[in-house]
Symmetry: C3
Subunit: 354 residues, 3 copies
């Protein structure tokens, strides 16, 4: 645990699954380098416990939900959502104290399943990064996707906080004028980092073009990313008539949520909501397909190739890379997260010493 | 060798192949973490030598049987069944003393190929665990199968000595009444361990149902497992009219033979014989299919998942699992085998010191 | 670098690709255990630089050739053929001194791309092992192939310098009379090693048979291999009427070029030229197919199996193999190469100390 507090921030909400991934069957998923199993109970609560029975180490994901409990599929032990063993069907039916396993707070919100892999007493669902456009069906229709990435989660953060890469990696979004056409602004607000790119009076391009109905050939575009530790990002993507207020235009707010599977692989959950054609299922399918294709064929291969080139190293900065102007926000986010992990480890150390 | 004597029992018969696997071509198989090659000579003897030529380390399994010898397929050296090099076709044709490789006693019995990976002088085929029903065509017809298991061989022993798992893992065999309906008896006889489960007066279920011809709806069922070190099991599976003698009913005696491939993977050979419909080839094919399907889709995935959860650990007990009442026989078998390996290593140490 | 000078000879020409593999797209290839990228510039020069951008470690093989430079596909940095960074499109556009990456001399010759992974000042294309029959279209038509081998490159050298293996591994080439029918001669000339096998007055067999037009049933065959460090071989394969001069007969001169990918895997480039049916494309396709099939289904599986049997060892001799008469040239080549690597490392050590 000490070791893992040093590798990952523990007292934080992490996305663990898309809501649609969690059916009536338990879902095995490695999160923060621990085998976990997610499940919905009969009453609709979300459970998250270690995916390893205390008896013979069978994965509980091969078992079944029985009411509010999770039953091991090998010899029938049952566990509640805190990991407590609540049934031994064998022999004298007594439950040994070491039959209990670990469990973590888990909730469903904004179309995602969230877990808190730290101290349960500190888990407050109100602290989950808000994605209100995913819970506002009057105004927005979201689409969702999942990608597995064979790379450290912070490489995905780097990708998202430095959108200059769009000009080289994503032909569909490249802007005539290149990076010089962008007005960029970077900064820190509390425990978040933002990277704003305004592209005033540019040619129509990118996703906004799908929903553009006016005859104007140019628009004001924006792509503003906000990072919240550990790797939960809100992306305000949109375009308006030149000079108009953002909310009058096409709004495509995104969620980008990256959760470590191991130190060298990540779960990447995303959503893109839109305020246009919100009742059009075909438009939803088209948007989902475009986004999933771009992320999976353009971003993920690049990130995975970076990790291959970094070898068995997770801390990019330890390899002394050259840093350029658009790396500023990602480097700040990396420093802030390191500091938070250090603080948490020190606090855990103090608590252990008391 | 010392190291491997500590990991595996050496002076013992292990199943190495199904008889039907060994055709006129040499068969490469890793056994006890050593590369071995099995072959039949022209006169029908079984050979087992290291699958690595002493010359340039080519696997001899890529070569050919030439009469009573095995010829390397790269440069033509030939070896006999003790591993002695008997032909060098090159230059002065002399055979260097270090051209010899290791060989082990090997025989064919009960539909399996057996090897003795220890001291050849101690190898006595009479010590092979008997499976007489596989050599009694008047009364029994056996079917055979092979499974590769990515898990330590003792996890397979655990599975077979704790048949309470049937109630959760094998819907076809689950009994109404669950584990409470079983009368279980465990014990040690010499160097074997038994686990007997009597299920008196229960509803028809399982394999026996395939061969049941009487109108009775209930029967007395039994499933009695006997383990012989290292991991050769005899399984007396059967059902009779309530109160009748076992031999009057449906008898389905099984062999379950588990041999380490490495510390983390195993060869699992099985047979199921029957005393019903013994001349019916379609019944044989059906029975083989059912058993292979159950083992491969229900048992093996569970055992492999256990090993994944155990990581690079082979000794389950070192991980301090919770043990339940039905684990008693498997835990005894693990202890007995450890003791035998310790004795053997100590004996080898004494012999080396003399 | 010191470590790699000890593992591989650095100041030498290695084949890096077939000419036909290098199109208008950069080609990623691990060579001498380093990730490299090969490319052709607009003017037709060959570039070879580290396949890892200094900025965020993206592989440059995912980028594009822009004129004489290679552009990173993630954020647009550009590099020249020496690895110097020549363009930063971001911010103040300054280029940090640590933005430069490694680059190596590279040329195209004899149908192959060659690199010199050592000191650029010492790279002289005139030192490339000559394969004149690949550049003599009046008299010869070559065909080419590439194989990936999961084995140390010196195992491929062993294979090629000990052609006695043909009698066991290659039924198409086996000679009645076996190895006893060969007149073999081995020796060292400067920094090369030769292994000559003359087979006078033998039955028609092998590739020569494809091009034989006379009614003679017997011929004089020869298969003479010359090794040049590190693993560039010239193979004079041919057959004539009994007693005739070599150049009057069927000449099938080969290139065999083996380059370490890692210590445990190799790139194997080959060509077979012929002085018969030189304008016949179907004959070319047939010859290419036969050679590629024999190498890939007979030699490569054997070499890969040797490496498996050797485990994590690259130096065959350290495992104390039995050596036979036909191993003499390969053992000499191994010793010569070891000595050259030792000399180079010592020279680099002296240079570093000065």
């Amino acid at each position: 645990m000490t070791d893992q507090q040093q590798r990952f921030l523990r007292n934080a909400w992490y996305a663990a699954a898309l809501s649609t991934e969690l059916t009536d069957k338990p879902l095995a998923r490695r999160l923060l380098d621990e085998p976990m199993v997610l499940y919905r109970t009969a009453s609709g609560k979300i459970g998250c416990v270690t995916n390893r029975c205390s008896h013979r180490f069978a994965p509980l994901s091969l078992g079944k939900v029985k009411g509010e409990h999770l039953e091991c599929g090998y010899h029938g032990l049952q566990f509640d959502g805190t990991g407590a063993c609540v049934l031994n069907p064998h022999g004298n039916k007594q439950i040994a104290s070491n039959a209990h396993i670990a469990g973590w707070p888990a909730v469903e919100r904004y179309g995602f399943i969230w877990i808190w892999p730290g101290e349960a007493a500190k888990a407050d669902p109100a602290a989950i990064t808000p994605y209100p456009f995913n819970a506002d069906p009057q105004n927005f229709t979201p689409v969702y996707g999942y990608l597995h990435v064979k790379g450290n989660y912070q490489l995905v953060t780097d990708n998202l906080l430095d959108l200059s890469h769009v000009e080289w990696l994503h032909p569909m979004f490249a802007q005539s004028g290149g990076v010089d056409a962008h007005k960029t602004e970077y900064g820190v607000e509390g425990r978040s980092v933002f990277a704003r790119r305004a592209k005033p009076n540019v040619e129509l391009q990118g996703l906004a073009r799908l929903y553009w109905t006016s005859p104007s050939k140019r628009f004001d575009a924006r792509s503003n990313m906000v990072w919240h530790a550990p790797a939960n990002m809100v992306f305000d993507l949109g375009a308006t008539e030149c000079g108009a207020a953002p909310e009058e235009g096409v709004c495509l707010p995104n969620a980008h949520l990256v959760t470590p599977e191991t130190e060298f692989s990540s779960h990447y959950f995303w959503s893109v909501a839109r305020n246009r054609q919100i009742d059009d299922d075909a438009a939803s399918a088209k948007l989902q397909g475009i986004a999933q294709r771009i992320f999976s064929t353009e971003d993920v291969p690049m990130i995975e190739a970076q990790q291959v080139n970094m070898g068995a190293v997770t801390d990019l900065m330890s390899l002394k890379p050259v840093s350029l102007e658009p790396d500023i926000p990602a480097v700040r986010a990396r420093r802030m997260l390191s500091e938070m992990i250090r603080e948490e480890a020190a606090g855990a150390g103090r608590a252990a010493a008391e």
